[in-house]
Amino acid sequence: MAQRFYAQSGRIIMSKPGYNAEPGLPDQFKIFDSAWAFGTVIIASGSVTGSTTVHFTPQHFVPLAEVTGYERRSSMDYINYQYDFSLTSSSLSIEFLDSDLDRVDYVVWGLTL
């Protein structure tokens, strides 16, 4: 059985099934490595159907957001760019700029400038 948890000398590694957690393990076989330079934390996600301010767990930084707008036509969701957004350390404000815009999806990532 593989040794899937490594915690020594200030480093934590968790590996995927069948792989020993050790510093030389290639990244694609890891679930987590404390030596990674940045992470995969998702602070918030969702979709809104009108101009909204979404509040999330307050952070010690202003995070990064992926935002995509859609309008519904003929049972398909077409990309619509007519929206704007801004971030603080605890909220994401999304503004709808077009009456055709039906939905804006967002993911707030644990990354910052």
């Binding site: 968790m14 987590f32 998702i42 995070p63 990064l64 400038l113």
Partner: protein, 259 residues
């Protein structure tokens, strides 16, 4: 040595926290690598498939692909991109495509329709047939997740539980030993994205800027940036091109490999 791991209370909330290398977890200046107050994107399925032309009208070609995936019981988060130009360049929507010349073309009609078990993507581009691929990732994360209130349940378990190895950090309200992978931030069966490279770049007004990562990609990766700037990646050279059609700005970009 800098304290980087906290299993206990931080910011008034019990949990497990791991800071970035060199950053003090008790007084952090950068985002955490692991924060049990938050979630992580987990991959349900992903792939790269051909994106065929299905029709042409008045010089506009319609490229469309629909695909199914094992139903999740909810509409998931997803991401998608188009791979084109001799299969060497990936353009991540919402974006334009560089289909000739130096200026990107922005499709007037580009659709991505997701359900709990299928994805349909369509884009309309002037001209004849092209060799396009659709790249997609379907996550196990619901598009509209439930917000979990803080709780005092056992949130961390690493070890042998009745003959089964478990390595878990559960979400609020779930006992780590009994939680499934969707109820955990860390779980022995997780399929997370793999961080590859990140950086900061300054972009002039209405400028195209190339940034070399020095890394080639055998399979298209996940890309994002803090400005929602349109971007493409050359898979062979690892050069990212940013298309800033607005005022000067400084952004962070990040690239993640799929497992």
């Amino acid at each position: 040595m800098t304290e980087r791991t906290r299993i206990g209370t931080l910011f008034g909330t019990p949990g497990i926290y791991v800071s970035q290398p060199g950053d003090n977890v008790a007084a952090p200046t950068r985002p955490f690598l692991l924060d049990s107050r938050c979630d992580v994107l987990e991959i349900h399925t992903y792939g790269r498939v051909s994106l065929p032309r299905i029709s042409e009208n008045a010089g506009i070609s319609v490229f469309q692909r629909s695909l199914g995936f094992p139903p999740l019981g909810y509409v998931p988060l997803f991401t998608y991109a188009v791979v084109m130009n001799d299969s060497q360049e990936i353009f991540q929507p919402p974006t334009g495509f560089q289909i000739g010349g130096s200026s990107p073309f922005f499709p007037q009609d580009q659709a991505a329709t997701i359900s709990d078990g299928g994805l349909l993507y369509q884009v309309q581009i002037p001209g004849g047939n092209r060799n396009l691929d659709l790249w997609y990732v379907i996550y196990r994360n619901p598009r509209n997740p439930t917000t979990l209130p803080p709780s005092g349940t056992e949130r961390v378990f690493i070890g042998n539980d009745a003959g089964t190895f478990k390595m878990r950090v559960s979400k609020s309200g779930f006992t780590a030993r009994h939680a499934n992978r969707d109820q955990c931030v860390i779980h022995e069966d997780k399929q997370p994205l793999i961080p590859v490279v990140s950086g900061v770049v300054s972009l002039g007004a209405s400028a195209q800027v190339d940034v070399g990562t020095g890394i080639g990609f055998a399979f298209p990766p996940k890309m994002l940036n803090s400005g929602n700037i349109r971007m493409r990646l050359n898979l062979g050279s690892g050069v990212i091109r940013f298309y800033n059609n607005s005022t000067p700005r400084t952004i962070r970009y990040a690239i993640y490999n799929l497992p």
